[in-house]
Amino acid sequence: MADGKGFTCLMVILILGNIFGAAAGLALCALAIWVAVDQFKLYPISGVSGKDDIFAGAWIAIFTGFAFFCMCVFGILAAAMKSRALMLTYLILMLIIYIFECASCITAVTHRDYLVGNSNLVKKQMLKYYAADGDSGSQITLTWNKVMKEVECCGTDGPVDWIEYNSTFREKFGTDYPWPTHCCKRKNNYEVVNVEACKNGQNTTMFTKGCFNHIESVFSRYTWAISWYGFAVLMFMFLLLILAMVYYLML
């Protein structure tokens, strides 16, 4: 087709767009690595429930992010060399990566809704698996102990969860301790400040806020990183691919 000014302009736009796309893809890869590393160590809550696609989406995004980077570099090459075959290869491969990245975004945000849409799933899991035997039980117990200690909270919506419902913890340890001792404030040497006061539920000696806010904010943070940033990258790639198809038609 015409080798005019519009054609050159389109080529330049494509090359610049691909440079930006390469950077965006690499950033997506890095962000997805951050999510997969799970610095807040909350994976067991999603893993035991079976709704762990926030992390599956993160793994997919690591690969698609890096693949976007590689394909965009290839796309610079293909556009500069004005080769039809290379552009076609570029288009088909980019579409495949695009579809995988879409899957990652959609599944991450859907599973986030399952997990932390409201506090029921987390609460049920806590009551069922805290202090239970088995692999799931030990994972959940360790995770909750860590959260209660670091975030200074007790229960899902509050300590009342432990006395409102029956639980594995209550069946194992009886009703002497209404809630785990991790709900109690501790001194710097990890000794409980006042066990009896904690058992009675005195505000000053135990944590009274619920842990769900923290859990929900962590999972939401992971999800927004994968799904919304992935969405932004995909919208940019959409425009880039439309321009690349027009360029291909002009070649």
């Binding site: 945000v109 986030r112 209550r170 000053t204």
Partner: protein, 248 residues
């Protein structure tokens, strides 16, 4: 003349605690409690908190005069004095309040599955022995437990210089889950109100519905827009390839 008495005599010679005028008829004007000591006039303005002390312990009247600046009160004083004495006897047998401890009292909750946290009788009855009567309204068994000091919930605050110990309430233990109880303190001749409260019914966690609560807006937006864009790209690629093949 308005009857007036000293409620409590402290060891200090200077301090005396005096009852305040009964709220109704005397609150209309400014009151002034005066007493003469070395020809100096002392003033006292009663506030609403002091009215509680009337309810608890009547003491012998002393000769301290209450003079009011409102002269018309003198004419009604005799009339109201009889009412006042009449109310006095009912007030001395008045009920004090017992209630469950709440969050504002410094505990997470007053209702457990097998115990209840009750407020203590007022401080004025401190040295007397108290019995707690409660019965289970379902089974109608009555209990008069011995009072053990360890069932008192107290907080101890230690800031390095001194330790303060404060009693928050009393824990009634060994109750059955999910049943209603009627509780009442009895202190000598005085009784508290009857508190009707039930212990918590422990629910089954399997009843919690942990299905998908609702689809959030983010999920709908992302899914719809991405699906549409995927579709458009696929169609556009097919059209491009077809066009270029057809064009060749």
């Amino acid at each position: 003349m308005h009857p007036l008495w000293i409620l409590q005599q402290s060891t200090s010679v200077k301090d005396s605690f005096v009852s305040t005028p009964w709220a109704g008829p005397w609150l209309s004007g400014p009151q002034e409690l005066t007493w003469s000591e070395n020809q100096t006039r002392q003033h006292l303005v009663p506030d609403s908190r002091m009215s509680r002390s009337i309810l608890v312990i009547p003491a012998l009247p002393f000769h301290i005069m209450l003079r009011s600046h409102e002269s018309h009160l003198f004419s009604t004083a005799m009339r109201t004095m009889f009412i006042f004495f009449g109310m006095l006897f009912t007030l001395s047998n008045a009920e004090f309040q017992v209630s469950l401890l709440k969050e504002s009292d410094g505990v997470v909750t007053g209702r457990f599955a097998d115990s209840l946290l009750l407020s203590l009788p007022p401080c004025a009855l401190a040295t007397q022995s108290v019995t707690l009567e409660y019965n289970n309204t379902d089974t109608n068994e009555s209990m008069l437990p011995c009072r053990f000091r360890r069932d008192i919930i107290s907080t101890i605050e230690n800031n390095g210089q001194f330790t303060t110990s404060r009693n928050l309430g009393y824990q009634v233990t060994n109750l059955t889950t999910g049943s209603t109880y009627r509780l009442q303190y009895v202190v000598g001749a005085e009784k508290s109100n009857i508190l009707e409260v039930s212990t918590r019914q422990v629910k089954d966690p399997n009843q919690i519905d942990s299905g998908l609560p609702a689809r959030s807006g983010a999920m709908v937006v992302i899914t719809v827009i991405l699906s549409v864009s995927m579709f458009i790209l696929l169609v556009a690629l097919i059209v491009t390839v077809a066009h270029s093949l057809g064009g060749d």
